[in-house]
């Protein structure tokens, strides 16, 4: 059968940010779905959010409540969410209680009641909450065949009446196998909460979706005052290509540093700046943002280790006004709630901000802080997640400086310890060196993917105006170890002679 001959399955927007993308474009119209999971997982909220998004007075949503959460309390809590529009209640979204029928009669009566209501209004969406209680109530006096028959007739009726259906139930994963409810369902949405040390992470899995290709995997989601928000892992990676990468150079705001980079950071690059605590990588990143603002390039700073006000105050101490551009909408400082963050959530937040501001410059300060802000379970996938995030951001054409704190070991550059240098187009290393009884600072450009760069190792100072880069450190050997010694004059002269030849 050619593609033109196939029936087109319309995809309904769910009203849940990110969910349509995970489902491959939206909810298949007329599908028969299960929303399952443990108590407190967000099942009822998800169903409400979808119902309110799709329903209209002409094609309403019918919300059947059965022996679960009392309807009055459900309305009391659900109206706290922004998607809950009171004007739609009993017009576009109609609530019908079937508790008495379920308690006093059998499955047939429940089915008859649902069908009667459906035939009366021709709803676009039907929700049965909690379907599990219907099944549990019926299980006592009903055989498995009868239960299966009930579910099939329910699915048949609701589909024939062109309704997209959601049955909500509290299930454990062990109950999926051989369960007639799951066999009949076209879609199975599994909501779960994972405890990771002291953090709780909510996850959504689409275990089944007939008729269209969803993006497999576990997705983190958050329940906020807006309702559920899911964070697709492919966010920002599915559209476009890397924009204008390397066409221009962006000044860092430090002329001498730009010289070392042979003209600045290539536009669209991801630059990793590593150094020990107190080396000044955050200050350098601040100067990069400030220079962009001076040139009319909007910027974003994602911080994890200090609050926005503290960051703004610290920038001010170096003479940079970050308050005015924040008010003007050219600078956004994102402070993300630590300890239970997912990388996908961070990507979502930053990508949205980049798009909103049309940001040209982004600072992530720091990757170590970012890693610490993640829920423990996500830290194990940190490198893979970071790869996705940098990929999504560089596709937008934004130029990134990520800072990373490195523990000095005096034997190596320390970058391989963090094992993320492959993520970066460019690497700059700051480090302390012990010279003549003084602890001095040194900067070197280790790598630039887009072309040549200075191979000098320059001394620099942290001043009240920011980073000031000095002259290359000459006459020392073993500078990269942090404990250099003087070149032996004979060796130095011989090497100089070799270079001349």
């Amino acid at each position: 059968m050619s593609a033109a001959d196939r029936v087109t399955i319309r995809k309904l927007p769910t009203g849940v940010p990110g969910l349509d993308e995970i489902m491959g474009g939206g909810l298949p119209e007329f599908s028969f779905n299960i929303i399952a999971g443990a108590p407190g997982g967000g099942k009822t909220t998800l169903a409400h959010q979808i119902g309110f998004a799709i329903a209209t007075p002409e094609r309403p949503a019918l919300y059947f409540t059965v022996l679960g959460e009392p309807a009055i309390k459900m309305l009391r809590y659900q109206q706290q969410f922004q998607f809950f529009d009171p004007a739609k209640v009993n017009t576009a979204v109609r609530f019908i209680n079937l508790s008495q029928v379920a308690l006093e009669q059998d499955l047939e009566a429940v089915l008859a009641e649902i069908v009667k209501e459906v035939e009366a209004v021709g709803p676009s969406v039907v929700i049965v909450d909690s379907f599990r209680t219907v099944v549990r109530k019926a299980a006592g006096g009903t055989g498995e065949a009868e239960l299966q028959g009930f579910i099939q007739r329910l699915a048949l009726n609701l589909t024939s009446w062109e309704a997209t259906t959601f049955l909500i139930g509290e299930y454990t994963e062990g109950e999926i196998r051989d369960n007639p409810v799951f066999t009949v369902a076209d879609g199975l949405f599994w909501l779960s909460q994972h405890v990771e040390r002291n953090s709780i992470v909510r996850k959504l899995q689409i275990m089944k979706l007939r008729g269209q290709e969803s993006v497999p995997g576990l997705y983190t989601f958050r329940i906020t005052e807006g309702g559920l928000q899911t964070f697709p892992r492919t966010y920002g990676l599915t559209s476009g290509t890397e924009k204008g990468k390397g066409q221009n150079r962006l000044s860092t705001g430090i002329a001498k540093f730009d010289e070392l980079l042979h003209g600045g950071i290539p536009e669209g690059d991801s630059l990793l700046m590593g150094g020990p605590s107190g080396a000044g990588q955050s200050i350098l990143a601040t100067q990069f943002i400030a220079e962009g603002l001076k040139r009319g390039e909007p910027g974003i700073v994602a911080i994890f280790e200090e609050l926005t006000d503290q960051y703004v105050r610290r920038a001010a101490s170096f003479g940079f006004d970050f308050e005015t551009p924040q008010k003007a909408g050219t600078l956004e400082i994102i402070y993300l709630r630590p300890l239970d963050l997912s990388v996908d959530e961070m990507v979502h937040e930053v990508v949205n901000s980049v798009k909103k501001l049309g940001a040209k410059r982004l600072v992530i300060d720091s990757l170590v802080g970012f890693e610490m802000a993640l829920a423990p379970g996500f830290r194990t996938d940190f490198r893979e997640s970071l790869y996705r995030m940098i990929g999504a951001l560089t596709r937008l054409g934004v130029t990134i400086i990520s800072t990373v704190e490195i523990e000095e070991d005096f034997t190596s550059l320390g970058l391989s310890n963090f094992a993320i240098s492959f993520l970066s187009d460019d690497i700059v290393r700051l480090r302390y060196v012990s010279i003549n009884g003084q602890l001095r600072r040194m900067l070197m450009v280790v790598k630039m993917r887009g072309g040549p760069h200075s191979i000098d190792m320059n001394e620099y100072r942290v001043t009240d105006k920011g980073i000031v880069i000095g002259e290359p450190l000459r006459g020392y050997r073993g500078l990269t170890s942090g404990i250099p010694g003087p070149w032996h004059p004979e060796v130095r002269d011989a090497e100089a002679a070799d270079r001349k030849e």
């Binding site: 309305l75 109206q79 209640v89 609530f95």
Partner: protein, 130 residues
Amino acid sequence: MNTVTPAIKDLARRLIALEAARDAAAGGAARACDQLRRPLTRMAGAAGFRSLLSRALALAKAGDYSLNSVHIREDGVLDGLAGDDGAAVVAHLLGLLETFIGASLTRQLVRDAWPDAASDKTDDRDGKQS
């Protein structure tokens, strides 16, 4: 705790008057409660409506001993309410609804039950009283 604002009292009085005008013999308050019973039973179930009405009746009885003989039948209909009595029951029922689901949804329910009688005054919480 349930609160009945002057606006809710006023709304209850108007609904009772409206129902009394339709059928004076049946008693305006009983008819008003019955008018609310239908949408509330549909939405919250018979047990849900009955529990709300029980609470409203208990609150009303605390302030008016003449209601002591009033009781609620199994089907959620008020029994023993005569003439103009029972304005407090209707007011407390509306007050409970407002407490649980808010003024906006309560107003919507009333508007659905009495398209010609609903008033925005139900969300006027000034001067509320227990």
